[in-house]
């Protein structure tokens, strides 16, 4: 009776049970794909083609230049050329446009008189994200135009080349790792971590809770199977499924969303393993505590979905959270896997760069698995 020989039957039995239920297996494999496709396309913090309405009262070369400067990028799309201020208001109210631009009649005159020219912007603030970003884009575009005018004015005043010597602050931006600032590159690794976290916890917690509900857990604990063999034996099949999920969503990330996979596949495999162990260990622990599929499922959703979405840094930066939430976020493995995934996908980060995350995931795994052993041993008291 060698201990490793008792691990095998537990794994084998688990696999038979998984295969016996092909629908659940298909769901578990397809869900991450569907979720990634849905969220990957839907969740985008980029704004493009924001519908814009313009009421140009100036009708001058200058006003047209401003409009051209703003619409040269693909951020704004002129949805309507309004003929009155009320029309702009109506369009905003109906939601046909998100941003209204009103150029006063004396716009060109002011510029030519070297006075400050004003433009009125009306922004639909109901979608604060789009509104804020649109405002930023507009100001940037308008300032570009303003700089052109400044140069022209200076030239006109006879000081050609004056601007060259003028100590203007010039920014030279270089964006690293995600040069195009594509949201997909940022979102997709986050989605992968979140989806896998939720499913990993859910799958194992259901499988273990079922053993408690049907009394088979009791039977296993009475048998010579050691508790650690039981836990490892239960986790191994789900870790295999987890790897299949990761492989599929990685393919989709690269092929469908064109997220660059710059880093090492070996490192990705290793870190995925750590993440799956910690996530599925948590699933095991949930069901060892609740011993009921239903409660374990609710716990999995509340305990992983919300923290992984909200506290992992996927959507909201952790640094801007209140301290209590920040502390709670430390125990969410998705938080670390997210950093690891973004690092491996976008930065080709080395193992030494990701060492902190790796060590923390190992620590979480060890703690969680130890708690599983303690809880399972005590579970018959």
């Amino acid at each position: 009776m060698k201990s490793h020989s008792l691990l095998r039957p537990v794994i084998k039995k688990e696999f038979i049970q998984i295969i016996r239920d092909p629908i659940s297996l298909a769901v578990v494999i397809l869900i991450p794909i569907i979720q990634l496709l849905l969220f990957g396309y839907a969740v985008s913090f980029d704004i493009k083609h924001v519908p814009m309405g313009i009421f140009d009262q100036s009708h001058t070369q200058e006003s047209r230049q401003l409009i051209r400067a703003v619409t040269a990028s693909s951020y704004f799309l002129i949805a309507d050329n309004a003929t009155s201020r009320t029309q702009i208001n109506t369009l905003l109210e109906k939601g046909d446009i998100k941003i209204g631009v009103i150029i006063p009649p004396d716009f060109a005159d002011d510029i030519n008189a070297d006075k400050t020219a004003g433009v009125q912007l009306l922004i639909d603030g109901t979608d604060a994200n789009v509104g804020g970003v649109a405002l930023g884009y507009f100001i940037a575009a308008a300032q570009g135009y303003a700089l052109d005018i400044t140069e022209r004015v200076l030239n006109k005043q006879g000081g050609s080349g004056l601007l060259k010597n003028f100590p203007l602050l010039s920014q030279r931006l270089r964006i690293w790792y995600n040069q195009t600032l594509r949201t997909e590159n940022f979102i997709v690794p986050g989605l992968i971590a979140t989806i896998l976290m939720i499913l990993g916890v859910l799958m194992t917690s259901q499988s273990v809770a079922r053993e408690y509900e049907r009394g088979t857990m009791e039977q296993l604990i009475v048998s010579p199977v050691k508790v650690y063999e039981l836990i490892i034996g239960k986790l191994v099949p789900y870790i295999v499924i987890g790897f299949v999920q990761v492989a599929l969503v990685t393919l989709i990330a690269v092929l469908v969303f064109h997220v660059p996979l710059k880093g090492s596949l070996l490192l990705l495999t290793f870190t995925t393993f750590l993440f799956l162990v910690s996530a599925m260990g948590i699933g095991f622990l949930f069901s060892a505590v609740t011993k009921s599929q239903q409660v374990a499922m609710q716990m999995s959703f509340v305990g992983t979905m919300l923290p992984s979405l909200l506290l992992s840094g996927f959507i909201y930066p952790i640094s801007s959270m209140p301290i209590a939430l920040r502390i709670f976020s430390y125990v969410v493995p998705a938080k670390y896997f997210l950093v690891v995934l973004r690092g491996i996908f976008l930065k080709n980060s080395s193992i030494s760069i990701l060492m902190n995350q790796i060590l923390i995931m190992i620590l979480i795994s060890v703690i969680v698995l130890t708690l599983c052993i303690i809880k399972t041993k005590k579970s018959l008291d």
């Binding site: 537990v10 049907r214 009394g215 048998s223």
Partner: protein, 319 residues
């Protein structure tokens, strides 16, 4: 010479301040069908869990299959079989896969597993059902399969925790036949149940109440020695009115319903039962209750246990 398969001395288990099992001493001989009886919450399952090496005793000691439950729980686990009232099988596996799995986790090698599997299929009568998914079996079949799985490794002792709860009488009968055939082969059976009629099936009994062993011995011994009074069975048209009348009578120990009948236990000395019967008959007739039948009966185990519980409650001083 050899130690009995199950031997417990002053076994005690506390949960906080609550004494779940209170100094239980018992021993079960090889090939016996030991019935461990008691109402729900009496401490049956806690005792069984301690004997299976799942729960540490707070004090006292026990040897099961020659191993100490506190210091050698792993040896205990591999020498015993355990079947819970839930018939813990994997319902999504086939009959054959269930047997294989339990055989494997008890460390049977392939050739022995093959042999044992055939034996178990034959023993349980599951021939031809090997590849049936377990969830489609009837309760009686599942129960027999669970029993088969729990003895796959030929344990010296089989613990059965309420094995017949929720099973129809026919299946129960067949199940008990299985238990006897295993006992005849020398396997020791430790059965907990709260079905009193099943107690008569056991070769020896232990009766536990409030964590204490209240009585033990063969069914016959218990009937002979533990019944202090005489039982009078009364069949009337108005049992509830009759009960109210009989209860306050002198020398009445315990009066309770037994189905539609009334069982009155009198503490009057032996030989005076006839007088008591006459008194009861008169009392009921005076109150206009028709008595169909009234006579003494030999005590059933259930009568004895009810009376033991009452005695215990009185000594406990409350409830």
């Amino acid at each position: 010479m050899t130690q009995p398969p199950v031997q417990a001395v002053n076994l005690r288990r506390m949960f906080g301040d609550f004494v779940a099992v209170d100094n239980i001493t018992l021993s079960v001989e090889k090939g016996e069908v030991f019935g461990f009886l008691g109402p729900n919450g009496a401490g049956k399952t806690t005792t069984v869990k301690m004997l299976c090496g799942l729960l540490m005793p707070s004090s006292g000691s026990a040897q099961v299959a020659g191993f100490d439950i506190a210091t050698q729980p792993d040896d205990v686990k591999s020498s015993i079989g355990y079947m819970s009232q839930k018939f813990s099988l994997y319902s999504d596996l086939t009959v054959s896969e269930n047997i294989d799995f339990f055989g494997n986790i008890y460390g049977l090698d392939n050739s022995r597993l093959k042999l044992r599997k055939e034996e178990i299929i034959k023993l349980t009568g599951l021939d031809g059902k090997e590849h049936v998914i377990t969830s489609t079996l009837s309760v009686g079949w599942k129960q027999r399969l669970a029993l088969g799985c729990s003895v796959i490794h030929e344990p010296r002792i089989l613990f059965l925790d309420e094995p017949t709860a929720g099973v129809d009488p026919d299946s129960r009968r067949m199940f008990w036949d299985l238990i006897y055939s295993l006992a005849q082969k020398g396997m020791t059976m430790f059965v907990t149940t709260h079905y009193m009629d099943e107690a008569e099936n056991c070769t020896r009994l232990g009766f536990i109440y409030n964590g204490k062993m209240v009585a033990s011995g063969t069914p016959l011994e218990i009937k002979r020695t533990r019944m202090t009074g005489t039982i009078i069975e009364i069949d009337t048209d108005a049992p509830s009115d009759a009960l109210k009348l009989i209860k306050p009578m002198e020398s009445m120990d315990e009066v309770s319903f037994f189905g539609r009948l009334i069982h009155a236990v009198t503490t009057a000395p032996a030989g005076t039962a006839d007088r008591t019967i006459k008194n009861i008959g008169q009392l009921l007739q005076q109150n206009g209750i028709t008595v169909n039948r009234i006579n003494t009966i030999p005590p059933s185990l259930e009568d004895i246990f009810i009376s033991l519980i009452k005695q215990e409650d009185r000594q406990g001083g409350h409830q």
